[in-house]
């Protein structure tokens, strides 16, 4: 699929929200037409305002002065894209086109009836287009190597924003796969990469509808496994017992994103008789005897992707499926979170942007008396606040991604918290701007709001993430 250079203005030609008020009767329709054509702004004043605006006013500057003025008619999206390394620009455009072509048409139905949503076609299309292997650079994966070296998670992050703009559930379905692969990549364990990641990536590049999932949460330990102090006191039940040629794992994991569909799971278990310090990452295949998927949760949002309970009853895992060293799981897990949190922030940003774009279109199309909603100053003020908030969230996310290959705990946590809080705020503003239209499912804004609310909870609640920053910077910033 070739990415295009379209700007967001194309949305005006293709409505993304339907008309939901029934057709007016002939009499009331005529009254509406009269209202809309009755009032025109004073043409002389309009002309003066146009001349005073910067594009007009800057004509009075000299040559060099004109050079220093940026009056280009570019969207925020285009301006931001232009600041990215070439590889990231490529993926950003490609992801937006993909999201509009494949995700948008399925979004409403997948949210309404996730049980009957078949994810295989979109997984296959995404894999063929290279999205499912963008966590690793070419030639193993499909990420552009130079951009990757500059900012390892920038490419998945820009993809995440675009996918999540159209649908949080389908976005999560596609993106949680990277989270499942990340422990292998971040283990630095070459045999695991060659044995597990490489063959998977080869299949994905041919269009396999296959995913991996990441399993840390247990029924009695959610936030505990995402923060050091909690981890030290966590009640963990999933245990690996050494056996001939491998380990036997018993226990349960819950709320595993994509866990119901994934073929393989990177799953963390403590070693028998030891605590969380012994946490080790194992690759568990769903076909292994004793492995089963239990309850699929009924979620408020991001419904197209399942949140599954995984049950392990005497599951034999060969020692080749141990990721990295024994007892390296805790560090591996924490580092996975450091790399994934900017992407979760990017997903949140996408939810907020999706709601903003839809509210903007609503305000362009809806009349209040003689004027469109967008022509009212108080509405403009709110829209401006939303756009600024989203822009600042993107700045923080991209900053956290651009940490010279590695992601660090504090900037990743900050990106996740800032972006998710802003996303929920912006989605709420979008709903409120649209009034009763805002909470109607067909308009998608309420769906994006529901989707966004999860980003304040998963990958560590925002409370836990705030504590992560303190923990990371305690010696250097807070208690020096």
């Amino acid at each position: 699929m070739k990415p295009t250079d379209q700007t967001d203005i194309e949305r005006q030609a293709t409505p993304i929200i339907p008309d939901i008020i029934p057709d007016q009767t002939a009499r009331t329709a005529k009254i509406r037409t009269d209202i809309h054509t009755a009032t025109e702004a004073d043409p002389t004043l309009k002309k003066r305002i146009a001349e005073l605006a910067m594009p007009g006013a800057s004509r009075n500057l000299n040559f060099f002065g004109k050079l220093l003025v940026d009056c280009a008619e570019k969207t925020i999206w285009e301006r931001d894209t232009a600041t990215l390394p070439l590889g990231c620009r490529y993926w950003r455009r490609k992801a937006r086109d993909f999201a509009r072509q494949y995700i948008r048409p399925d979004a409403l139905a997948a949210d309404l009836d996730p049980n009957n949503y078949d994810p295989k076609p979109i997984l296959s299309a995404a894999a063929k287009a290279g999205f499912q292997t963008a966590m690793m650079p070419f030639p193993i994966g499909t990420a552009e190597p130079f951009a990757y070296l500059r900012a390892a998670v920038m490419q998945p992050a820009v993809i995440a924003e675009e996918f999540a703009t159209e649908c949080g559930g389908i976005g999560l379905l596609l993106l949680a796969h990277h989270l499942g692969c990340a422990p292998i990549m971040l283990s630095g364990h070459i045999p695991s990469m060659l044995r597990h990641l490489l063959p998977l990536y080869m299949r994905l590049k041919k269009g396999a509808a296959e995913t991996m999932a990441f399993a840390i949460t247990e029924p009695g330990a959610g936030s505990d496994v995402e923060e050091t102090e909690g981890g030290a006191q966590a009640h963990l039940i999933t245990t690996a017992k050494p056996a001939q040629g491998g380990y036997i794992i018993n226990g349960r994991k819950c709320f595993i994103s994509g866990g119901g569909f994934a073929q393989k799971v990177t799953l963390y278990a403590k070693l028998e008789g030891e605590g969380i310090e012994s946490w080790t990452c194992f690759i568990v295949d769903k076909d292994m005897p004793g492995f089963s998927v239990g309850r699929l949760e009924h979620k408020m949002g991001q419904r197209a992707s399942d949140a599954a309970e995984l049950i392990l009853e005497d599951v034999f895992v060969p020692k080749e499926n141990v990721v990295g060293k024994l007892r390296s799981g805790w560090a591996n897990n924490r580092n996975v979170l450091n790399y994934s949190r900017p992407c979760v922030g990017a997903m949140a940003l996408g939810h907020g942007r999706g709601a903003f774009e839809r509210a903007l279109e609503f305000c362009r199309r809806t009349y209040l008396g003689p004027k469109r909603l967008i022509d009212y100053q108080d509405v403009q003020y709110t829209l401006s606040d939303m756009a600024m908030s989203l822009w600042s969230a993107r700045a923080m996310i991209w900053h956290s991604c651009a940490q010279l290959l590695r992601c660090n705990q504090s900037s990743s946590a900050t990106a996740k918290v800032i972006a998710s809080d802003i996303a929920v705020k912006v989605c709420n503003q979008a709903i409120e701007l649209m009034g009763d239209h805002g909470y109607v499912h067909a308009n998608s804004v309420e769906r994006l709001w529901r989707d966004s609310r999860l980003t304040q909870i998963y990958e560590g609640t925002n409370q836990i993430n705030r504590l992560s920053l303190i923990e990371h910077l305690w010696e250097t910033e807070f208690d020096k």
Binding site: I31, H298, A307, D378, G435, D436, Y439, V440, H441
Partner: protein, 385 residues
């Protein structure tokens, strides 16, 4: 407020008992919104115990149900508190009782009473653009900011009504709507049976929350009604002002009730859930969340109580109700979302009912006027005082 404490408590006890027994019974299944097919039974109970008001004087709730006919005797506080009590368990069910009471109250206040009033009625206030702004409220034909499009034209036998009243909330089985529209340059208020030729109720479709209540767009196409269908005697502005005031106050009361239910649930969960080596409630961050939610919830309740203490039919009530709807609802939403956060991942799942509370209060927050609208309204109504 003329209701004594004893009477007030008995009203609230009735609402509490109704919420705990009848309303809670719909939530014994898996689905967060409850068994919606049981709602009619629950509403029948509400009518039989006099909690649901009705324009029909033969119904037990005619006088003292929520927003019943004796509102000038009881004051607003009992109805507001009863709505909050029911909303602690289910916001949608409280909304059913509220819209029923609101429409009943308009009919009870009307100078021209219908000869044989229906039992279940719904208020149809909104126009295509939302609610009338301050200028339009005073002169419905004025673009201030948008003129009223729904209109009734007088004929020899009565009126012909045209227009669309979008987002009309109604309890299941509503038989008639109390419709506000323009008659020449004044407001008119009509009781229109929903089975009349030319009326059409189209379902709004799936929405975020408050699913226990019906939501439709009411289309009126050349609907012919007799002169007796008109409830006002030439200008329905006083009826409309009361409708707006009670609507905002009722929604704010429901929001406060949802928040109270959420905070209670969060406290209970925090005392039972073990996390980080101790019970959740022992973590200072969790205490901050819950205490902040409680403060916000009390703030929302206080704004409702303040408005409910103001005399009926006064401009002050309208302004205080708008403030309760704007700021009280914001506080209630914050209380609810912070309470959900206490549950972590479990709050996002349907099991504990927290996500339903958040969905419900978010819909409430978006009904009956955007923040931009309410702020303009509050500003202009302040000038008028």
């Amino acid at each position: 407020m003329s209701t004594n404490t004893f009477e007030m408590n008995s009203f609230i006890d009735t609402a509490h008992a109704f919420a705990a027994k009848s309303v809670a019974s719909i939530f014994d299944g898996e689905h967060a919104d409850g068994k919606l097919d049981k709602i009619d039974d629950v509403l029948s109970t509400a009518f039989s115990i006099g909690l649901a008001a009705s324009p029909d004087p033969n119904q037990p709730g005619y006088d003292y149900g929520i927003w019943g006919a004796s509102l000038s005797e009881t004051g607003l506080a009992p109805s507001a508190l009863m709505l909050s009590s029911v909303a602690e368990v289910c916001g949608g069910m409280a909304l059913n009782l509220h819209v029923q009471g609101l429409a009943s109250q308009i009919i009870a206040l009307a100078s021209r009473k219908p000869a044989s009033p229906p039992t279940r009625v719904a208020p149809a206030i909104q126009e295509e653009f939302g609610l009338p702004g301050w200028g339009t409220l005073n002169i419905p034909s004025l673009d201030a900011p948008a003129r009223v499009i729904s209109q009734a034209q007088k004929t020899k036998k009565g009126y012909v009504i045209d227009g669309v009243k979008p987002f009309m909330y109604a309890m299941p089985g509503a038989e008639a709507a109390v419709v506000f529209c323009r008659v020449d340059d004044n407001w008119g208020c009509f009781l229109i049976p929903l089975n009349l030729t030319g009326t059409q109720c189209s379902d709004v479709g799936v929405r975020s929350g408050l699913r226990a209540s019906y939501l439709t767009h009411l289309t009126l196409k050349d609907v012919t009604v007799p002169a007796e269908a008109r409830l006002d005697d030439g200008d329905a502005l006083p009826l409309l002002m009361r409708a707006l005031s009670l609507n905002w106050l009722g929604l704010a009361a429901i929001g406060a009730g949802i928040a109270r239910g959420a905070v209670r649930a969060a406290r209970k969960y925090a005392s039972e859930r073990y996390q980080g080596g101790t019970m959740l409630e022992n973590h200072p961050v969790i205490r901050m969340l819950i205490a902040g939610a409680e403060s916000n919830m009390e703030g929302a309740s206080a704004l409702v109580a303040r408005a409910a203490d103001i005399g009926l039919g006064t401009p002050e009530l309208m302004r205080a109700s708008a403030i309760a709807r704007l700021t009280g609802m914001q506080l209630a939403t914050e209380a609810t979302t912070d309470s959900l956060q206490v549950f972590g991942g479990y709050g996002y799942m349907e099991d504990y009912g927290m996500e339903k509370r958040l969905r419900d209060v978010t819909v409430l927050k978006s009904m009956a006027g955007t923040p931009q609208y309410l702020k303009q309204f509050i500003f202009e109504s302040g000038e008028a005082r």
